[in-house]
């Protein structure tokens, strides 16, 4: 079985997970395997709390690329994976893993989903969710304060010190690796297109687009 692999990238609070959830909701969880890059943060259990505070979690180096790539390769070859899970309060990998079974559709979602060339090679469709900075900041603020009990000051500090510069340095440029850009976060027409494409892939429909296009 060869899977149709979709990469969904975009900044923090851009609406990536809305896109993923919409695909899963439209075609059924049994047909979609979801790989979330956030689960692949590097385990920092060996660092002191002081050292951990200095880590830039918004830098690509904070992720375990090797494991992620290996698991994408496994899934694309029909091999089930044990996706790691992460304990954000202690910056360590949890003992529990999530078993992800191979499926006709694989969604790879993450800030840096379109950053790495070897990972992009697996993807038949690369999507960048492009949402205005201020809107993304508002979402992050609300999420961090409500769900993670953070203070406004600490959210702003992290945003200015790492989220924003890392976004500009690594995420924004990866937009050019996308096949399509969805502006303003997810919108209905774009999601309808995406679902139609995914259904066509599941049904092996012939789409007869000429192949002369240069690869991005």
């Amino acid at each position: 079985m060869s899977s149709f692999i979709i990469g969904v990238a975009g900044g923090s609070g851009s609406g990536k997970s809305t896109v993923t959830e919409h695909i899963v909701g439209a075609i059924g969880a049994d047909k979609v395997a979801v790989i979330i890059q956030d689960n692949y943060y590097v385990d920092l259990g060996h660092l002191t709390p002081e050292q951990r505070r200095k880590v830039n979690f918004d830098h690509p180096d904070s992720f375990d690329w090797e494991l992620m790539l290996k698991q994408i390769d496994d899934l694309s070859n029909g091999v089930p994976i044990e996706m790691p899970t992460y304990d954000y309060s202690r910056d360590t990998r949890r003992a529990e893993t999530i078993t992800v079974l191979p499926a006709p559709i694989i969604v790879i979602e993450g800030l840096f989903a379109l950053l790495d060339a070897s990972m992009r090679k697996y993807m038949s469709l690369r999507i960048f969710v492009d949402t205005a900075d201020d809107i993304r900041f508002i979402r992050r603020l609300q999420r961090d304060i409500i769900e993670r009990g953070r203070s406004t000051e600490s959210v702003i500090k992290q945003y200015l010190e790492s989220v924003r510069p890392m976004h500009r340095q690594f995420i924004e440029p990866s937009k050019r690796n996308a096949h399509i850009i969805i502006p303003h976060g997810a919108n209905k027409a774009a999601l309808e297109m995406l679902v139609a494409r995914v259904r066509a892939a599941i049904n092996h429909e012939e789409l007869s687009v000429s192949t002369y296009f240069e690869e991005v």
Partner: protein, 218 residues
């Protein structure tokens, strides 16, 4: 039967017509009506050649929006239309028109494809082709010199004086009205997505015009 109207916008030389061609190639010409905005340039036969050379053809006001919105509206309601034809060498509208009957899929293509709000609201899918300015200019240069017998200097002058500033002012901002943006000109994966959606509509999927998008924000 309401048609599925697709707007394809983007700068001159961005690759709009390639998208249209690929859609027609994939789903069949009989299922697609093409609405080319360039046919709606205003007639300039009353101007002297001297006056015509000063007209800014890259400004939205160079187009006959009244006729354009009327004809798109007719097509959207299943009414055949008489499409104007334009002579670019004399900047005049030809006496002859082309009868166009609405198909299930209508593609509206033009640099200002997403400029008019009323027209945008009739589009179930709005696409902006976002190609780098230098690449667009190179394509325009090749086309104007080889197909339209223009000199290098005249192309560059028109580009600097009209095309570029008008693009920044009027075309580029319409990107915000797009449902999807295709970077680097068109690509196969994006085309496959568009065509999948068109096929699903041809197979009876619902067309949704109320996308709840952002017009009130602007």
């Amino acid at each position: 039967m309401k048609p599925f109207i697709i707007g394809v916008a983007g700068g001159s030389g961005s690759g709009k017509s390639k998208v249209t061609e690929q859609i027609i190639h994939a789903v069949g010409a009989e299922k697609v009506t093409v609405f080319i905005q360039d046919n709606f340039y205003l007639d300039r036969s009353h101007l002297t050649p001297e006056e015509r050379s000063r007209v800014n053809f890259d400004h939205p006001s160079a187009f006959d929006w009244t006729l354009m919105t009327k004809l798109l509206d007719d097509l959207a309601n299943g009414v055949p239309v008489e499409m104007p034809q334009y002579d670019f060498t004399t900047h005049t509208r030809l006496a002859t028109t082309k009868t166009v009957t609405p198909a299930k899929i209508i593609i509206l293509e033009g640099i200002f494809g997403l400029y008019n709000e009323e027209m945008c609201k009739q589009m179930a899918l709005r696409i902006f082709i976002d190609t780098a300015g230098d690449i667009c200019l190179m394509r325009r240069l090749k086309r104007d010199i080889s197909e339209r017998n223009r000199t290098l200097d005249s192309v560059i002058e028109q580009y600097s004086q009209f095309v570029r500033p008008m693009h920044k002012k009027f075309v580029e901002p319409t990107k915000q009205k797009a449902h999807i943006i295709i970077p680097n000109g068109s690509n196969k994966a994006a085309l496959e997505m568009i065509i999948s959606r068109i096929q699903s509509v041809l197979n009876g999927d619902k067309i949704n015009l109320d996308d709840g998008m952002f017009f009130d924000e602007e």
